[in-house]
Amino acid sequence: MQNAQCTMLNDGGRDTSIASSKFTTRIKSMLKMDFYRLFHTPIFYIMVTVAALIPALVLSMVGANEDGGPSFSNTWQVIEGLSGNTAGLMDFANMANINMLFIFAALMLSIFVAHDYSSGFVKNIFTVHAKKSDYAVSKSLVGIFSGICMILAYTLVTIIVGAIMGKSFDLGVAGIGGLLMCLMSKMLLMGVFVPLYLSVAVLFRQKLWMTIVATFAAGILFYPVASIAVPLDASVLTLLMCALAAGIGFVGFGALTSLILNKRDLA
Protein backbone atom coordinates (compact mmCIF):
# COMPACT_ATOMS: atom_id res chain seq x y z
CA MET A 1 0.00 0.00 0.00
CA GLN A 2 2.77 2.36 0.96
CA ASN A 3 4.73 1.59 -2.19
CA ALA A 4 1.64 2.03 -4.28
CA GLN A 5 1.12 5.42 -2.71
CA CYS A 6 4.71 6.42 -3.30
CA THR A 7 4.57 5.66 -7.00
CA MET A 8 1.44 7.72 -7.37
CA LEU A 9 2.97 10.80 -5.81
CA ASN A 10 4.93 12.61 -8.43
CA ASP A 11 7.68 15.08 -7.86
CA GLY A 12 7.28 18.80 -8.17
CA GLY A 13 4.60 21.33 -7.46
CA ARG A 14 1.17 21.88 -8.91
CA ASP A 15 1.13 21.51 -12.65
CA THR A 16 -1.81 23.72 -13.48
CA SER A 17 -2.49 26.23 -16.18
CA ILE A 18 -4.06 28.69 -13.75
CA ALA A 19 -0.77 28.86 -11.91
CA SER A 20 0.31 31.14 -14.76
CA SER A 21 -2.33 33.52 -13.33
CA LYS A 22 -3.13 35.02 -16.74
CA PHE A 23 -6.71 36.23 -16.95
CA THR A 24 -7.51 34.20 -20.05
CA THR A 25 -6.15 30.93 -18.68
CA ARG A 26 -7.92 31.45 -15.37
CA ILE A 27 -11.23 32.18 -17.10
CA LYS A 28 -10.75 29.22 -19.43
CA SER A 29 -10.35 26.82 -16.53
CA MET A 30 -13.32 28.25 -14.68
CA LEU A 31 -15.52 28.25 -17.77
CA LYS A 32 -14.65 24.62 -18.43
CA MET A 33 -15.70 23.79 -14.89
CA ASP A 34 -18.92 25.79 -15.04
CA PHE A 35 -19.98 24.38 -18.39
CA TYR A 36 -19.17 20.85 -17.28
CA ARG A 37 -21.34 21.46 -14.25
CA LEU A 38 -24.10 23.06 -16.33
CA PHE A 39 -24.33 20.07 -18.66
CA HIS A 40 -24.32 17.66 -15.71
CA THR A 41 -26.99 19.57 -13.77
CA PRO A 42 -30.69 18.71 -14.17
CA ILE A 43 -31.75 22.35 -13.59
CA PHE A 44 -30.37 23.39 -16.99
CA TYR A 45 -32.38 20.77 -18.85
CA ILE A 46 -35.46 21.47 -16.72
CA MET A 47 -35.31 25.18 -17.49
CA VAL A 48 -34.80 24.66 -21.23
CA THR A 49 -37.70 22.19 -21.23
CA VAL A 50 -39.93 24.64 -19.36
CA ALA A 51 -38.90 27.36 -21.82
CA ALA A 52 -39.95 25.07 -24.64
CA LEU A 53 -43.23 24.12 -22.97
CA ILE A 54 -44.47 27.69 -22.46
CA PRO A 55 -45.17 28.56 -26.12
CA ALA A 56 -46.57 25.07 -26.64
CA LEU A 57 -49.05 25.54 -23.79
CA VAL A 58 -49.91 29.13 -24.62
CA LEU A 59 -50.48 28.50 -28.31
CA SER A 60 -52.40 25.28 -27.87
CA MET A 61 -54.50 26.08 -24.80
CA VAL A 62 -55.22 29.79 -25.21
CA GLY A 63 -55.67 29.39 -28.92
CA ALA A 64 -58.33 26.76 -28.31
CA ASN A 65 -60.42 29.18 -26.30
CA GLU A 66 -60.23 32.32 -28.33
CA ASP A 67 -63.69 33.59 -27.38
CA GLY A 68 -63.07 33.80 -23.65
CA GLY A 69 -59.38 34.47 -23.30
CA PRO A 70 -56.85 36.68 -25.00
CA SER A 71 -56.44 35.88 -28.65
CA PHE A 72 -53.24 34.26 -29.87
CA SER A 73 -54.22 33.97 -33.51
CA ASN A 74 -50.74 34.86 -34.69
CA THR A 75 -47.77 32.63 -33.80
CA TRP A 76 -45.40 35.55 -33.29
CA GLN A 77 -47.55 37.01 -30.54
CA VAL A 78 -45.82 34.64 -28.11
CA ILE A 79 -42.49 36.06 -29.18
CA GLU A 80 -43.22 39.78 -28.92
CA GLY A 81 -45.67 42.50 -29.86
CA LEU A 82 -45.03 45.23 -32.39
CA SER A 83 -43.59 48.52 -31.17
CA GLY A 84 -46.25 50.68 -29.56
CA ASN A 85 -48.19 47.61 -28.41
CA THR A 86 -46.78 47.56 -24.93
CA ALA A 87 -49.51 49.64 -23.31
CA GLY A 88 -51.23 46.60 -21.89
CA LEU A 89 -47.98 45.20 -20.63
CA MET A 90 -49.46 43.56 -17.57
CA ASP A 91 -52.16 41.75 -19.55
CA PHE A 92 -51.76 38.03 -19.76
CA ALA A 93 -51.40 38.26 -23.53
CA ASN A 94 -48.43 40.53 -23.16
CA MET A 95 -46.87 38.71 -20.25
CA ALA A 96 -47.01 35.22 -21.69
CA ASN A 97 -44.29 35.79 -24.22
CA ILE A 98 -40.58 35.24 -24.70
CA ASN A 99 -39.72 37.86 -22.09
CA MET A 100 -40.71 35.39 -19.37
CA LEU A 101 -37.40 33.74 -20.12
CA PHE A 102 -35.66 36.64 -18.46
CA ILE A 103 -37.33 35.49 -15.23
CA PHE A 104 -36.37 31.87 -15.86
CA ALA A 105 -32.80 32.93 -16.49
CA ALA A 106 -32.89 34.62 -13.08
CA LEU A 107 -34.21 31.46 -11.47
CA MET A 108 -31.68 29.26 -13.23
CA LEU A 109 -28.73 31.48 -12.29
CA SER A 110 -29.82 31.89 -8.69
CA ILE A 111 -30.05 28.13 -8.19
CA PHE A 112 -26.69 27.66 -9.90
CA VAL A 113 -25.01 30.24 -7.66
CA ALA A 114 -26.85 29.20 -4.49
CA HIS A 115 -25.65 25.59 -4.94
CA ASP A 116 -22.07 26.83 -5.09
CA TYR A 117 -22.52 28.16 -1.57
CA SER A 118 -24.80 25.52 -0.06
CA SER A 119 -22.53 22.68 -1.22
CA GLY A 120 -19.37 24.43 -0.05
CA PHE A 121 -17.82 24.11 -3.52
CA VAL A 122 -17.31 27.84 -3.39
CA LYS A 123 -14.41 27.18 -0.98
CA ASN A 124 -12.58 25.32 -3.74
CA ILE A 125 -13.32 28.05 -6.24
CA PHE A 126 -12.23 31.04 -4.19
CA THR A 127 -9.21 29.42 -2.58
CA VAL A 128 -7.74 28.75 -5.99
CA HIS A 129 -9.16 31.75 -7.82
CA ALA A 130 -8.04 34.77 -5.84
CA LYS A 131 -9.51 37.14 -8.42
CA LYS A 132 -13.24 37.48 -7.87
CA SER A 133 -13.74 38.82 -11.39
CA ASP A 134 -13.10 35.25 -12.64
CA TYR A 135 -16.25 34.14 -10.89
CA ALA A 136 -18.30 37.10 -12.16
CA VAL A 137 -17.26 36.59 -15.77
CA SER A 138 -17.59 32.82 -15.80
CA LYS A 139 -20.98 32.67 -14.09
CA SER A 140 -22.33 35.48 -16.29
CA LEU A 141 -21.24 33.72 -19.47
CA VAL A 142 -22.78 30.45 -18.34
CA GLY A 143 -26.01 32.28 -17.44
CA ILE A 144 -26.09 34.07 -20.79
CA PHE A 145 -25.51 30.78 -22.60
CA SER A 146 -28.39 29.20 -20.66
CA GLY A 147 -30.61 32.17 -21.49
CA ILE A 148 -29.78 31.89 -25.19
CA CYS A 149 -30.51 28.15 -25.11
CA MET A 150 -33.91 28.93 -23.58
CA ILE A 151 -34.65 31.56 -26.25
CA LEU A 152 -33.71 29.11 -29.02
CA ALA A 153 -35.81 26.32 -27.51
CA TYR A 154 -38.73 28.71 -27.03
CA THR A 155 -38.53 29.98 -30.61
CA LEU A 156 -38.18 26.53 -32.12
CA VAL A 157 -41.19 25.16 -30.25
CA THR A 158 -43.17 28.31 -31.07
CA ILE A 159 -42.69 27.68 -34.77
CA ILE A 160 -43.49 23.96 -34.50
CA VAL A 161 -46.61 24.39 -32.36
CA GLY A 162 -47.75 27.41 -34.38
CA ALA A 163 -47.60 25.28 -37.50
CA ILE A 164 -49.38 22.35 -35.84
CA MET A 165 -52.14 24.59 -34.46
CA GLY A 166 -52.53 26.31 -37.81
CA LYS A 167 -51.74 29.77 -36.48
CA SER A 168 -50.84 32.64 -38.74
CA PHE A 169 -47.15 33.31 -39.36
CA ASP A 170 -47.77 36.78 -40.70
CA LEU A 171 -45.06 39.11 -39.47
CA GLY A 172 -46.72 42.24 -40.84
CA VAL A 173 -44.52 45.31 -40.86
CA ALA A 174 -41.84 43.55 -38.81
CA GLY A 175 -40.82 41.13 -41.55
CA ILE A 176 -38.39 38.27 -41.10
CA GLY A 177 -35.56 40.77 -40.62
CA GLY A 178 -37.41 42.38 -37.73
CA LEU A 179 -38.02 38.98 -36.14
CA LEU A 180 -34.35 38.01 -36.40
CA MET A 181 -33.24 41.38 -35.03
CA CYS A 182 -35.73 40.97 -32.20
CA LEU A 183 -34.47 37.50 -31.26
CA MET A 184 -30.83 38.48 -31.47
CA SER A 185 -31.51 41.62 -29.44
CA LYS A 186 -33.23 39.52 -26.77
CA MET A 187 -30.19 37.27 -26.65
CA LEU A 188 -27.94 40.28 -26.28
CA LEU A 189 -30.13 41.62 -23.51
CA MET A 190 -29.30 38.49 -21.54
CA GLY A 191 -25.88 40.15 -21.29
CA VAL A 192 -27.47 42.89 -19.21
CA PHE A 193 -29.92 40.85 -17.20
CA VAL A 194 -27.74 37.87 -16.25
CA PRO A 195 -24.89 39.92 -14.74
CA LEU A 196 -27.54 41.95 -12.88
CA TYR A 197 -29.05 38.74 -11.49
CA LEU A 198 -25.59 37.53 -10.54
CA SER A 199 -24.98 40.67 -8.50
CA VAL A 200 -28.27 40.12 -6.68
CA ALA A 201 -27.53 36.40 -6.19
CA VAL A 202 -24.12 36.97 -4.59
CA LEU A 203 -25.53 39.74 -2.43
CA PHE A 204 -28.10 37.39 -0.91
CA ARG A 205 -26.01 34.24 -1.03
CA GLN A 206 -26.12 33.35 2.68
CA LYS A 207 -29.35 31.39 2.30
CA LEU A 208 -30.41 29.38 -0.70
CA TRP A 209 -34.01 30.57 -0.51
CA MET A 210 -32.93 34.20 -0.13
CA THR A 211 -30.81 33.96 -3.25
CA ILE A 212 -33.64 32.45 -5.24
CA VAL A 213 -36.32 34.85 -3.97
CA ALA A 214 -34.16 37.96 -4.41
CA THR A 215 -33.03 37.04 -7.90
CA PHE A 216 -36.51 35.99 -8.92
CA ALA A 217 -37.85 39.33 -7.63
CA ALA A 218 -35.22 41.14 -9.68
CA GLY A 219 -36.34 39.15 -12.70
CA ILE A 220 -40.02 40.08 -12.16
CA LEU A 221 -39.07 43.71 -11.65
CA PHE A 222 -36.87 44.16 -14.68
CA TYR A 223 -38.14 41.78 -17.35
CA PRO A 224 -40.75 44.21 -18.80
CA VAL A 225 -37.78 46.33 -19.89
CA ALA A 226 -36.95 43.64 -22.42
CA SER A 227 -40.42 43.97 -23.92
CA ILE A 228 -40.32 47.73 -24.12
CA ALA A 229 -36.76 47.89 -25.46
CA VAL A 230 -37.06 45.14 -28.05
CA PRO A 231 -40.30 44.94 -30.08
CA LEU A 232 -40.95 42.40 -32.84
CA ASP A 233 -40.20 45.00 -35.49
CA ALA A 234 -36.69 45.56 -34.12
CA SER A 235 -34.09 47.17 -36.34
CA VAL A 236 -30.32 47.06 -36.64
CA LEU A 237 -30.29 50.10 -34.38
CA THR A 238 -32.15 48.10 -31.71
CA LEU A 239 -29.56 45.37 -32.07
CA LEU A 240 -26.70 47.84 -31.73
CA MET A 241 -28.30 49.48 -28.71
CA CYS A 242 -28.76 46.08 -27.07
CA ALA A 243 -25.14 45.17 -27.85
CA LEU A 244 -23.99 48.40 -26.25
CA ALA A 245 -26.24 47.84 -23.24
CA ALA A 246 -24.95 44.26 -22.95
CA GLY A 247 -21.37 45.48 -22.96
CA ILE A 248 -22.02 48.12 -20.33
CA GLY A 249 -24.17 45.78 -18.24
CA PHE A 250 -21.66 42.94 -18.40
CA VAL A 251 -18.77 45.12 -17.33
CA GLY A 252 -20.74 47.23 -14.86
CA PHE A 253 -22.59 44.47 -13.06
CA GLY A 254 -19.50 42.26 -13.31
CA ALA A 255 -17.54 44.92 -11.45
CA LEU A 256 -20.36 45.20 -8.91
CA THR A 257 -20.34 41.42 -8.36
CA SER A 258 -16.56 41.45 -7.91
CA LEU A 259 -16.86 44.31 -5.45
CA ILE A 260 -19.50 42.49 -3.39
CA LEU A 261 -17.38 39.33 -3.35
CA ASN A 262 -14.25 41.26 -2.38
CA LYS A 263 -15.91 43.15 0.44
CA ARG A 264 -17.84 40.33 2.06
CA ASP A 265 -17.05 36.96 3.59
CA LEU A 266 -17.44 34.09 1.17
CA ALA A 267 -17.93 31.04 3.35
Partner: protein, 301 residues
Protein backbone atom coordinates in the same frame (compact mmCIF):
# COMPACT_ATOMS: atom_id res chain seq x y z
CA UNK B 1 10.83 31.11 4.62
CA UNK B 2 7.37 30.74 6.04
CA UNK B 3 4.66 29.15 3.93
CA UNK B 4 2.11 31.00 6.06
CA UNK B 5 2.82 34.04 8.15
CA UNK B 6 0.19 36.17 9.80
CA UNK B 7 0.84 39.48 11.48
CA UNK B 8 -1.69 40.79 14.01
CA UNK B 9 -4.44 39.01 12.12
CA UNK B 10 -7.86 39.95 13.40
CA UNK B 11 -11.35 38.92 12.43
CA UNK B 12 -14.52 40.15 14.10
CA UNK B 13 -18.06 38.95 13.62
CA UNK B 14 -20.64 41.50 14.79
CA UNK B 15 -18.13 43.03 17.19
CA UNK B 16 -16.93 39.70 18.60
CA UNK B 17 -13.30 38.92 17.88
CA UNK B 18 -12.97 35.36 16.60
CA UNK B 19 -9.31 35.89 15.76
CA UNK B 20 -7.46 38.40 17.85
CA UNK B 21 -4.01 39.66 16.82
CA UNK B 22 -2.85 36.26 15.62
CA UNK B 23 0.84 35.93 14.76
CA UNK B 24 1.35 32.57 13.16
CA UNK B 25 4.45 31.19 11.49
CA UNK B 26 4.16 28.00 9.45
CA UNK B 27 7.62 27.08 8.14
CA UNK B 28 7.83 25.95 4.54
CA UNK B 29 8.00 22.15 4.32
CA UNK B 30 6.50 21.61 7.76
CA UNK B 31 3.43 19.77 8.98
CA UNK B 32 1.93 22.31 11.34
CA UNK B 33 -0.47 20.92 13.90
CA UNK B 34 -3.00 23.61 14.70
CA UNK B 35 -4.58 22.91 18.07
CA UNK B 36 -7.39 24.59 19.93
CA UNK B 37 -10.74 23.99 21.55
CA UNK B 38 -14.04 24.37 19.73
CA UNK B 39 -14.64 28.01 18.85
CA UNK B 40 -11.02 28.98 19.52
CA UNK B 41 -10.64 30.39 16.00
CA UNK B 42 -8.94 27.55 14.11
CA UNK B 43 -11.39 27.34 11.23
CA UNK B 44 -11.74 31.12 11.05
CA UNK B 45 -7.95 31.43 10.78
CA UNK B 46 -7.84 28.80 8.06
CA UNK B 47 -10.64 30.50 6.16
CA UNK B 48 -8.82 33.81 6.42
CA UNK B 49 -5.65 32.27 5.04
CA UNK B 50 -7.61 30.78 2.14
CA UNK B 51 -9.19 34.14 1.34
CA UNK B 52 -12.68 32.94 2.20
CA UNK B 53 -13.10 35.55 4.91
CA UNK B 54 -12.12 39.20 4.78
CA UNK B 55 -9.76 40.09 7.68
CA UNK B 56 -10.80 42.91 10.00
CA UNK B 57 -7.14 43.75 10.46
CA UNK B 58 -3.61 42.45 10.08
CA UNK B 59 -1.70 40.82 7.29
CA UNK B 60 -1.41 37.36 5.76
CA UNK B 61 1.63 36.28 3.76
CA UNK B 62 1.85 33.07 1.77
CA UNK B 63 5.39 32.11 0.80
CA UNK B 64 6.39 35.71 1.48
CA UNK B 65 3.72 37.21 -0.80
CA UNK B 66 0.42 38.81 0.04
CA UNK B 67 -2.32 36.18 0.32
CA UNK B 68 -4.28 37.76 -2.52
CA UNK B 69 -1.52 36.88 -4.99
CA UNK B 70 -3.28 34.77 -7.62
CA UNK B 71 -0.28 32.62 -8.47
CA UNK B 72 0.41 31.69 -4.85
CA UNK B 73 -3.23 30.93 -4.16
CA UNK B 74 -3.40 28.61 -7.15
CA UNK B 75 -0.88 26.39 -5.33
CA UNK B 76 -3.21 25.65 -2.43
CA UNK B 77 -5.40 22.69 -1.57
CA UNK B 78 -8.04 22.93 1.13
CA UNK B 79 -10.42 20.89 3.17
CA UNK B 80 -12.22 23.19 5.58
CA UNK B 81 -15.09 21.97 7.76
CA UNK B 82 -16.48 19.62 5.12
CA UNK B 83 -15.66 18.67 1.54
CA UNK B 84 -16.98 21.16 -1.00
CA UNK B 85 -18.93 18.74 -3.15
CA UNK B 86 -22.29 18.82 -4.88
CA UNK B 87 -24.45 16.16 -3.21
CA UNK B 88 -26.31 15.18 -6.38
CA UNK B 89 -23.16 14.72 -8.47
CA UNK B 90 -21.02 11.61 -8.41
CA UNK B 91 -17.67 11.48 -6.64
CA UNK B 92 -15.96 11.42 -10.05
CA UNK B 93 -17.92 14.44 -11.31
CA UNK B 94 -17.13 16.42 -8.18
CA UNK B 95 -13.44 15.75 -8.41
CA UNK B 96 -13.45 16.28 -12.17
CA UNK B 97 -14.96 19.74 -11.62
CA UNK B 98 -12.21 20.59 -9.16
CA UNK B 99 -9.62 19.36 -11.68
CA UNK B 100 -11.14 21.68 -14.30
CA UNK B 101 -11.27 24.49 -11.75
CA UNK B 102 -7.54 24.02 -11.26
CA UNK B 103 -6.93 23.97 -14.99
CA UNK B 104 -5.27 20.55 -14.90
CA UNK B 105 -4.17 19.15 -18.23
CA UNK B 106 -5.39 15.59 -17.65
CA UNK B 107 -8.36 15.94 -15.32
CA UNK B 108 -9.55 12.34 -15.69
CA UNK B 109 -6.15 10.90 -14.84
CA UNK B 110 -5.78 13.23 -11.87
CA UNK B 111 -9.16 12.19 -10.49
CA UNK B 112 -8.14 8.52 -10.67
CA UNK B 113 -4.78 9.27 -9.07
CA UNK B 114 -6.16 11.07 -6.03
CA UNK B 115 -8.96 8.56 -5.53
CA UNK B 116 -6.42 5.72 -5.50
CA UNK B 117 -4.28 7.74 -3.13
CA UNK B 118 -6.98 7.83 -0.46
CA UNK B 119 -8.16 4.29 -1.12
CA UNK B 120 -11.42 5.36 -2.80
CA UNK B 121 -10.82 4.06 -6.31
CA UNK B 122 -13.98 1.99 -6.25
CA UNK B 123 -16.33 4.81 -5.25
CA UNK B 124 -15.94 7.05 -8.31
CA UNK B 125 -19.40 6.35 -9.68
CA UNK B 126 -21.21 6.77 -6.40
CA UNK B 127 -23.24 9.90 -5.74
CA UNK B 128 -21.61 12.08 -3.10
CA UNK B 129 -24.76 12.19 -0.97
CA UNK B 130 -24.76 8.38 -0.81
CA UNK B 131 -21.27 8.25 0.72
CA UNK B 132 -20.68 7.68 4.42
CA UNK B 133 -19.10 10.38 6.61
CA UNK B 134 -15.73 8.65 6.47
CA UNK B 135 -15.90 8.31 2.70
CA UNK B 136 -16.84 11.96 2.33
CA UNK B 137 -13.89 12.93 4.45
CA UNK B 138 -11.52 10.91 2.30
CA UNK B 139 -13.03 12.45 -0.83
CA UNK B 140 -12.40 15.85 0.71
CA UNK B 141 -8.77 14.94 1.29
CA UNK B 142 -8.53 13.66 -2.29
CA UNK B 143 -10.02 16.89 -3.56
CA UNK B 144 -7.46 18.94 -1.65
CA UNK B 145 -4.61 16.87 -3.09
CA UNK B 146 -5.58 17.47 -6.69
CA UNK B 147 -2.90 18.98 -8.86
CA UNK B 148 -0.18 18.47 -6.26
CA UNK B 149 -0.52 21.65 -4.19
CA UNK B 150 2.46 23.26 -2.45
CA UNK B 151 0.35 24.18 0.55
CA UNK B 152 -2.39 22.06 2.08
CA UNK B 153 -4.86 23.38 4.63
CA UNK B 154 -6.81 20.62 6.29
CA UNK B 155 -9.41 21.25 8.95
CA UNK B 156 -10.26 18.09 10.87
CA UNK B 157 -9.39 15.80 7.95
CA UNK B 158 -9.56 12.61 10.00
CA UNK B 159 -12.95 13.29 11.56
CA UNK B 160 -15.19 10.29 11.10
CA UNK B 161 -12.45 8.09 9.68
CA UNK B 162 -11.92 4.52 10.82
CA UNK B 163 -8.47 3.31 11.87
CA UNK B 164 -7.56 2.28 8.33
CA UNK B 165 -8.78 5.58 6.91
CA UNK B 166 -6.70 7.48 9.45
CA UNK B 167 -3.65 5.44 8.58
CA UNK B 168 -4.08 6.05 4.85
CA UNK B 169 -4.51 9.79 5.33
CA UNK B 170 -1.58 9.92 7.77
CA UNK B 171 0.75 8.03 5.44
CA UNK B 172 -0.34 10.07 2.45
CA UNK B 173 0.30 13.36 4.23
CA UNK B 174 3.68 12.20 5.53
CA UNK B 175 4.67 11.05 2.07
CA UNK B 176 3.56 14.29 0.44
CA UNK B 177 5.54 16.24 2.98
CA UNK B 178 8.62 14.06 2.77
CA UNK B 179 8.79 13.51 -0.98
CA UNK B 180 7.31 16.70 -2.40
CA UNK B 181 8.02 19.10 0.44
CA UNK B 182 4.34 20.02 0.70
CA UNK B 183 3.61 22.32 3.63
CA UNK B 184 0.59 21.14 5.59
CA UNK B 185 -1.47 23.09 8.07
CA UNK B 186 -3.63 20.56 9.85
CA UNK B 187 -6.07 20.98 12.69
CA UNK B 188 -7.59 18.10 14.56
CA UNK B 189 -9.19 17.22 17.85
CA UNK B 190 -7.58 13.80 17.70
CA UNK B 191 -4.32 14.99 19.21
CA UNK B 192 -2.78 11.54 19.45
CA UNK B 193 -3.11 11.16 15.71
CA UNK B 194 -1.89 14.69 15.10
CA UNK B 195 1.25 14.05 17.14
CA UNK B 196 2.15 11.23 14.73
CA UNK B 197 2.53 13.59 11.79
CA UNK B 198 3.14 17.13 13.02
CA UNK B 199 6.60 18.65 12.85
CA UNK B 200 5.48 21.98 14.32
CA UNK B 201 2.67 23.05 16.60
CA UNK B 202 0.57 26.11 17.17
CA UNK B 203 -1.90 26.35 20.01
CA UNK B 204 -4.74 28.82 19.69
CA UNK B 205 -7.05 29.97 22.42
CA UNK B 206 -9.79 32.56 22.14
CA UNK B 207 -8.42 33.73 18.82
CA UNK B 208 -4.86 34.22 20.04
CA UNK B 209 -1.89 31.96 19.43
CA UNK B 210 -0.68 31.14 22.92
CA UNK B 211 2.14 28.82 21.95
CA UNK B 212 4.03 28.01 18.80
CA UNK B 213 6.88 25.53 18.79
CA UNK B 214 8.69 22.96 16.68
CA UNK B 215 7.93 19.30 17.19
CA UNK B 216 11.27 18.78 18.98
CA UNK B 217 10.31 21.32 21.65
CA UNK B 218 6.90 19.72 21.96
CA UNK B 219 8.56 16.29 22.35
CA UNK B 220 10.61 17.78 25.14
CA UNK B 221 7.44 18.98 26.83
CA UNK B 222 5.68 15.69 26.25
CA UNK B 223 8.40 13.26 27.30
CA UNK B 224 7.93 10.62 30.00
CA UNK B 225 9.82 11.40 33.20
CA UNK B 226 10.09 10.74 36.89
CA UNK B 227 9.41 13.85 38.94
CA UNK B 228 11.08 13.87 42.30
CA UNK B 229 10.68 16.51 44.99
CA UNK B 230 13.07 16.54 47.92
CA UNK B 231 13.87 18.70 50.91
CA UNK B 232 17.05 19.84 49.09
CA UNK B 233 16.78 19.70 45.33
CA UNK B 234 20.28 21.07 44.85
CA UNK B 235 21.83 18.21 46.81
CA UNK B 236 19.50 15.71 45.19
CA UNK B 237 20.58 16.92 41.74
CA UNK B 238 24.21 16.34 42.64
CA UNK B 239 23.45 12.83 43.83
CA UNK B 240 21.23 11.97 40.87
CA UNK B 241 23.88 13.13 38.39
CA UNK B 242 25.94 10.10 39.44
CA UNK B 243 23.26 7.80 38.01
CA UNK B 244 21.29 9.81 35.44
CA UNK B 245 22.35 12.00 32.53
CA UNK B 246 19.08 13.38 31.18
CA UNK B 247 17.41 15.48 33.85
CA UNK B 248 16.60 19.06 34.70
CA UNK B 249 15.21 21.07 37.61
CA UNK B 250 11.57 21.89 37.20
CA UNK B 251 10.32 25.43 37.54
CA UNK B 252 8.51 25.66 40.88
CA UNK B 253 10.54 22.92 42.51
CA UNK B 254 11.46 19.31 41.85
CA UNK B 255 13.69 17.49 39.38
CA UNK B 256 12.63 15.82 36.16
CA UNK B 257 14.53 12.63 35.32
CA UNK B 258 13.94 11.64 31.72
CA UNK B 259 16.11 8.50 31.53
CA UNK B 260 14.22 6.63 34.18
CA UNK B 261 10.83 4.94 33.97
CA UNK B 262 10.72 3.44 37.47
CA UNK B 263 10.10 5.86 40.32
CA UNK B 264 10.83 3.21 42.99
CA UNK B 265 14.40 2.77 41.70
CA UNK B 266 14.95 6.51 41.91
CA UNK B 267 13.46 6.73 45.40
CA UNK B 268 15.65 3.90 46.63
CA UNK B 269 18.76 5.44 45.07
CA UNK B 270 18.12 8.79 46.73
CA UNK B 271 17.34 7.16 50.08
CA UNK B 272 20.56 5.15 49.90
CA UNK B 273 22.42 8.40 49.28
CA UNK B 274 20.87 10.16 52.23
CA UNK B 275 18.34 12.31 50.41
CA UNK B 276 14.85 12.50 51.85
CA UNK B 277 12.21 12.20 49.15
CA UNK B 278 9.07 14.26 49.76
CA UNK B 279 7.26 13.34 46.60
CA UNK B 280 7.99 11.10 43.63
CA UNK B 281 5.87 10.13 40.63
CA UNK B 282 6.15 8.84 37.11
CA UNK B 283 4.71 11.30 34.59
CA UNK B 284 3.56 10.48 31.12
CA UNK B 285 2.69 13.54 29.12
CA UNK B 286 1.31 13.07 25.65
CA UNK B 287 0.24 15.89 23.39
CA UNK B 288 -3.26 15.61 24.75
CA UNK B 289 -2.15 15.80 28.39
CA UNK B 290 0.14 18.69 27.58
CA UNK B 291 -2.66 20.56 25.86
CA UNK B 292 -5.10 19.96 28.72
CA UNK B 293 -2.53 21.12 31.26
CA UNK B 294 -1.75 24.22 29.25
CA UNK B 295 -5.41 25.07 28.94
CA UNK B 296 -5.99 24.50 32.66
CA UNK B 297 -3.11 26.80 33.49
CA UNK B 298 -4.53 29.48 31.21
CA UNK B 299 -7.96 29.05 32.69
CA UNK B 300 -6.57 29.43 36.18
CA UNK B 301 -4.59 32.50 35.16
Amino acid sequence: MYAIETQDLTKSFHGIRAVNGLNMHVPEGSIYGFIGENGSGKSTTEKLVCGLLVPTGGQILLFGKDYTDAQTRSQMGVLIENPGCFPGATVYQNLYMQALNLGLKNPGLEVKRVLELVGMGGAAGRKFKQCSLGMKQRIGVAQSLMGRPKLLILDEPINGLDADGMRIVRETLRELNRRDGVTILISSHILGELSKVATHYGIIRRGTLIKEMPGTAMSEECRDFVLVKTSNDQAALAVLSKKYRDMKPQAGGGIRIYDEQDSETTAKFLFDNGIFVREIAFNKIGLEEYYVKLMSKREAA
